[in-house]
Amino acid sequence: MNVSLQQLNKIASQTRRDIVRMVHAVQSGHPGGSLGCTEILVYLFNNYLKYRIPNHQNGEGEDVFILSNGHISPVFYSVLARVGFFELDELNTFRKLNSRLQGHPAVKEKLPGVRVATGSLGQGLSVGIGIAEGKKLNNDNRQTVVLMGDGELQEGQCWEAIMYAGHNKLHKLLAIVDFNGQQIDGATKEIMGFNELKSKFASFAWETYEMDGNNFEEIHRTFEEQKSSDGNKPRVIIMKTEMGNGVDFMMGSHKWHGIAPNDEQLEQALQQNPETLGDY
């Protein structure tokens, strides 16, 4: 790893503090999925993706990241700010009037690090395919990485995109599915289960990987493995995570998908995640 495990853990703890503080401050937002995806976003932006700051909107020569499940904007914004895309102070504006930090990521306000608006689910993988096709035309060897929710895969458009990428052998496309098994109305397997998700991707001609998405060492091993593959198929990492990970009373429940902690709950959450790099 380019960054030590100890340092990644420090960043993750601080990111979790940012998430619960941002959501608490405006009493709105999506803490559950954000907390569950803390490790993957911290890993991607601190140890994996190659990008410039300020980055070029067209992503030429850079790895391009698309957050398709845009509702986990708190973790995305915290990570972007802490790697230097914008001032930490700006996290105070999350979901407030005249902010660049919209409830769901947007480009109209020109927030650095965001290339497409997401939030209406199921659209990010298609956009990622377009970027990957653009990179192919430009002979640009960098990867396009799309993070999606598992519930999001209930959208039909995802399967149009999965079919296209497999058919066209877009091996520079990497999808990551946040498989936390939860969605707003309950457990994903109760609402609309996938049965065998891995074999579904495999049958659409994707190379598949699985990992624990809340464990940096496992994330690193899996990313190294997929990177060293010389296969010509698009890649998917099905990542088991726990919604609300890192805050005990939020863990594993769909109930914290989209509600904010109260003052007391915030205190508890902060006690469980020490301030390592300074609060915003």
């Binding site: 067209n58 497409v116 039909g156």
Partner: protein
């Protein structure tokens, strides 16, 4: 008079743009022949993306290609270019401010025999409501060619609407085409006709007949529905005091409503609308359908005559 389909104007211009600029890419959802994109596909196979019957994915891929600095032209029927993919256009293209050209053939009743499942009459309304979206609806082969080249130069999302049937070519290849600038086809003093798309030809035929009856008609081709040429429309309304709008679209949500909004707030003027009256279409031949649904030349003439 020579006749050609407007979709061929799109296909021919797309091919020429492909020759001029390597950033021009095209996407199609299993309708390459219908959209007249075959020439582009054969000449630039690596810049042509066949997505299969998957329009939502097509709009997303176009957004990604635009992000990467390309100028994507998507091609499918108007029905599948708008209603089928409205949220994809809204979020991934319009709100994301992507330079995507949504090119839509077989719009309106005149696609004919396929019937109402394919005859979209609501697409102008859907597209003009989106912030930042430009909506262009040219009238014949030559103008569709010019319009395709003009939207290539325009930076921002565009909806380009054209059709299936062979239609008289009455504008010149050398005519000026400026997005948002109405084209005056007849100078008159009694009544203004504002027409768009195939209805410009219908209106032009009515002008000659009405002139013989002593009614002097001013005809403006409103090839751009958004942004609307407010100055030209207001000036003509002030001159004639009577405005008829003709479009192959629902009266609700179309050009007529845009003009009514403009005039009622700035210069209230007597208006009449020629368009489809809150109804789906059906199978038939293009001219038969225009007659049955009140969009014939004689419908225009009668409505003009009935102005006070």
């Amino acid at each position: 008079m020579e006749q050609k389909d407007t979709r061929s104007g799109f296909g021919d211009a797309l091919y020429e743009l492909g020759q001029e600029d390597e950033k021009v890419v095209a996407l199609c959802a299993d309708l390459t022949g219908s959209l007249k994109m075959t020439k582009f596909k054969d000449a630039f196979p690596n810049r042509f993306f066949q997505v299969g019957i998957a329009e939502q994915n097509m709009m997303g891929i176009a957004s990604g290609l635009a992000t990467s600095g390309f100028i994507p032209f998507t091609g499918t029927f108007a029905n599948f270019s708008t209603g089928r993919v409205y949220d994809q256009i809204r979020q991934s293209i319009a709100y994301s401010e992507k330079n995507v050209k949504i090119c839509a053939s077989h719009a309106g009743l005149t696609l004919g025999e396929d019937g109402a499942t394919h005859q979209i009459l609501e697409d102008i309304g859907l597209m003009k409501m989106l912030p930042g979206m430009t909506v262009v609806n040219p009238c014949d082969y030559n103008q569709t060619k010019l319009a395709t080249k003009a939207i290539y130069k325009h930076i921002g999302p565009v909806y380009l609407r054209f059709g299936r049937p062979k239609w008289p070519i009455f504008t010149k290849e050398t005519d000026e085409f400026v997005i948002g600038k109405a084209q005056k086809l007849a100078e008159g003093t009694d009544v203004t006709i504002l027409a768009t798309g195939h209805m410009v030809w219908q209106s032009l035929q009515s002008v000659e007949i009405l002139e013989k009856e002593g009614i002097s008609v001013e005809l403006l081709n409103i090839h751009t529905i958004k942004p609307l040429d407010k100055v030209a429309i207001l000036n003509s309304a002030k001159k004639t005091g009577r405005v008829l709008v003709a479009e192959e679209h629902q009266k609700s949500g179309g050009l007529g409503e845009s003009v009514a909004s403009l005039l009622s707030q700035n210069y209230p003027t007597k208006m009449k609308l020629v368009g489809v009256n809150d109804s789906f279409g059906e199978s038939g031949k293009p001219l038969e359908l225009l007659e049955k649904y009140g969009l014939s030349v004689s419908d225009i003439i009668q409505k003009v005559r009935s102005f006070d």
